[in-house]
């Protein structure tokens, strides 16, 4: 019974990993760009949720949407102000710029909100669901389900809509897309907006049950790197699968071997997989 509970918990957390990683994989796949500040986007989503909850007494729906909207604007603005120029430079400039950006965002939050740990002012969705002895938090279930749905939504947006095909066209061949009347700058800004928004909404959802501080982003960035590489750069379904897997492996190894092994096993499997299948689970070779 407990095992089932561990598995369900792991998968639900994995869905949240998938959500913020899908944002990272989008720009990674589209623009071949590593964003070291992605974890900070998650962190800002948490603080936006906090602000909305404190100032406007907004509930989970309100603050998640606010976080998504806020981060979308931030992502698009960053594209025009910084990323577009950096992309023309060498790959190292990407690391340089987004690492500097990560520090800047983290310590801006530090300055504004202080380094103290905060929790949202109310508890939302605090009920428990008892499924034949399997205890699941309402918040966990709602957050996990919403994250999975949003990740799938992102995939559908990319594959089934006109905007999505324009995005992919720009990713395939910027010049050809331009000849077809697509404005690549707009599309890439849109991708950055979507990427940041997915991180922001994931952060807002996680803020419901996790205490957080400005330092929280680093952990998520590392998880996202693993998930994206496992899933294959640019593959949203890959991110979903890999996110669920990482969540599950973490939960199972924490349960069987103890919590310190969960990262050892995740990284170990990750390195092993890179040996055998460097293009990731669902990535193109």
């Amino acid at each position: 019974m407990i095992l089932v509970q561990v598995i369900v918990g792991g998968l639900l957390l994995g869905a949240v990993y998938a959500l913020f990683s899908s944002g990272l994989t989008l720009i990674w796949g589209m623009m071949n760009f590593i964003n070291f500040a992605h974890g900070e986007f998650v962190m800002i989503g948490m603080y936006l949720a906090y602000l909305v909850a404190v100032a406007f007494h907004g509930g989970p729906l309100a603050f998640s949407l606010a976080a998504a909207a806020g981060l979308f604007v931030l992502g698009a603005a960053l594209y025009f102000g910084l990323i577009r120029a950096v992309m023309r430079g060498p790959m190292l400039a990407q690391i340089l710029s987004t690492f500097g950006l990560a520090l800047l965002l983290r310590y801006a939050a530090f300055w504004i909100f202080s380094p103290n740990v905060v929790t949202l002012p109310h508890s939302y969705l605090s009920g428990m669901i008892n499924l034949h002895g399997i205890l699941i938090r309402e918040s966990q279930l709602v957050v996990g389900a919403a994250a999975a749905a949003l990740t799938i939504g992102m995939h559908l947006l990319l594959t089934r809509t006109a905007i999505g095909s324009q995005l992919l066209a720009v990713a395939e061949d910027r010049n050809a897309a331009m000849l077809m009347g697509i404005r690549p700058d707009r599309m890439q800004a849109l991708a950055w907006g979507l990427s940041a928004a997915s991180a922001g909404i994931a952060g807002a959802l996680m803020a419901i049950s996790f205490p957080f501080s400005p330092e929280v982003g680093g952990t998520f960035a590392l998880i996202a790197f693993v998930v994206v590489t496992l899933g294959g750069f640019g593959s949203v379904p890959g991110a979903l699968l890999a996110g669920l897997m990482v969540g599950l492996i973490q939960a199972l190894s924490a349960y069987y071997f103890g919590p310190i092994y969960k990262d050892i096993i995740v990284y170990g499997l990750f390195v092993a997989l890179l040996w055998f299948r460097p293009q990731g689970l669902l990535g193109k070779a």
Binding site: L92, S97, Y107, W275, P278
Partner: protein, 327 residues
């Protein structure tokens, strides 16, 4: 170029003496040693990250091995830490070969991610490994037992040791740059497929570069540990250690001989000064400024600051030289 190098060498040799008249000589000398150490690490990374274009974000694994071994030699057997330096290099070379074989097949970001993962894996393992001091870390000799412990009150001896090792590394890099290896690495950086078709043994030379880079990164780690007298998983193997090496090299100019040194000369005093001015305030302003400057450099000078130098200053020199020649 020649004259510039001589001037640079003179400035570096004289620095401890130049600052000795100030009210903060000890601190400035210490900072000078830290600059050289950062330059050493970045220049070591530069061999594989800059010249060969394989962007490792996991060089902390070599730095950490180099830092841990000397202090473990002391911790377990009370030996002078310096005896552990070759052991650190040996361990780093083993890691480089073990890691290099599989990961150097990977291209671009995959290689970067693989190196991050391996370094994190090592950090977590060491954090939980009692023989390596676990999360608590390992201390060097608390009180000097003799000169061989290399514990000095002043930073000046460290400064010159670091300078000597840095000079050696720059010499090796310079030689490499002019030799066949350098040519091979450059061709690998500009395109592996093309390099292979030209008959360059790509994987072998990537591995050579990684091994050379690992050797000197490990040395940098050892020197850090000798000077600091303490190492723990975060300061030896943390991701920030790796990122710092990358940033220092990239900021100055990756794939150039003096880029890493320039990066260190700018970055370390910048870090120290912002921390000295704003750190005590406890508002995080240190990192806002530091992060902001990094972003600005990446935005406006993505190729590193050495390019800026070449464009503005050395071109002016050249013009003057041309004018002189014409006259």
């Amino acid at each position: 170029m020649r004259r510039g190098t001589v001037a640079l060498a003179a400035a570096l040799l004289l620095y401890p003496w130049l600052v000795s008249g100030t009210g903060s000589s000890a601190f400035l000398q210490d900072m000078g040693a830290n600059v050289l150490l950062a330059a050493l690490g970045a220049a070591a990374w530069n061999i594989v990250g800059g010249y060969a274009g394989q962007i490792s974000v996991g060089h902390a694994m070599f730095f950490g091995a180099g830092a841990y071994l000397p202090l473990l030699f002391f911790h377990h057997w009370q030996l002078p830490p310096i005896l552990g330096v070759p052991a650190g290099i040996a361990v780093s070379l083993v890691i480089a070969v073990l890691i290099g074989f599989p990961t150097l097949r990977l291209l671009g970001h995959y290689f970067s991610m693989a190196t991050i993962a391996v370094a994190e894996l090592l950090r977590i393992i060491v954090s939980n490994w009692d023989l390596a001091g676990a999360a608590i870390g390992v201390q060097g000799p608390a009180i000097s037992r003799g000169w061989w412990d290399l514990i000095f009150r002043s930073a000046v001896p460290y400064y010159y040791i670091f300078l000597a090792v840095l000079a050696l590394l720059l010499f090796v890099t310079w030689q490499m740059q002019r030799s066949r290896i350098g040519y091979y690495l450059r061709s690998i950086r500009s395109g592996e497929r093309a390099a292979r078709s030209l008959g360059v043994p790509v994987r072998r030379y990537k591995l050579y570069a990684l091994m050379l880079s690992a050797t000197f990164t490990s040395l940098a780690g050892s020197l850090y540990a000798l000077k600091t007298g303490f190492i723990d998983p975060e300061s030896g193997l943390g991701i920030l250690v790796s990122v710092q090496l990358v940033i220092t090299a990239a900021l100055g100019g990756a794939g150039t001989l003096f880029g890493p040194l320039l990066g260190a000369v700018i970055l370390v005093p910048l870090q120290t000064a912002t921390n000295t001015w704003f750190g005590g305030g406890g508002t995080g302003l240190t990192y806002i400024i530091y992060g902001g400057i990094i972003v600005l450099i990446a935005r406006f000078e993505p190729g590193g600051l050495l390019e800026l130098w070449h464009r503005h200053i050395s071109s002016r020199f050249n013009k003057r030289a041309e004018a002189r020649d014409a006259a």
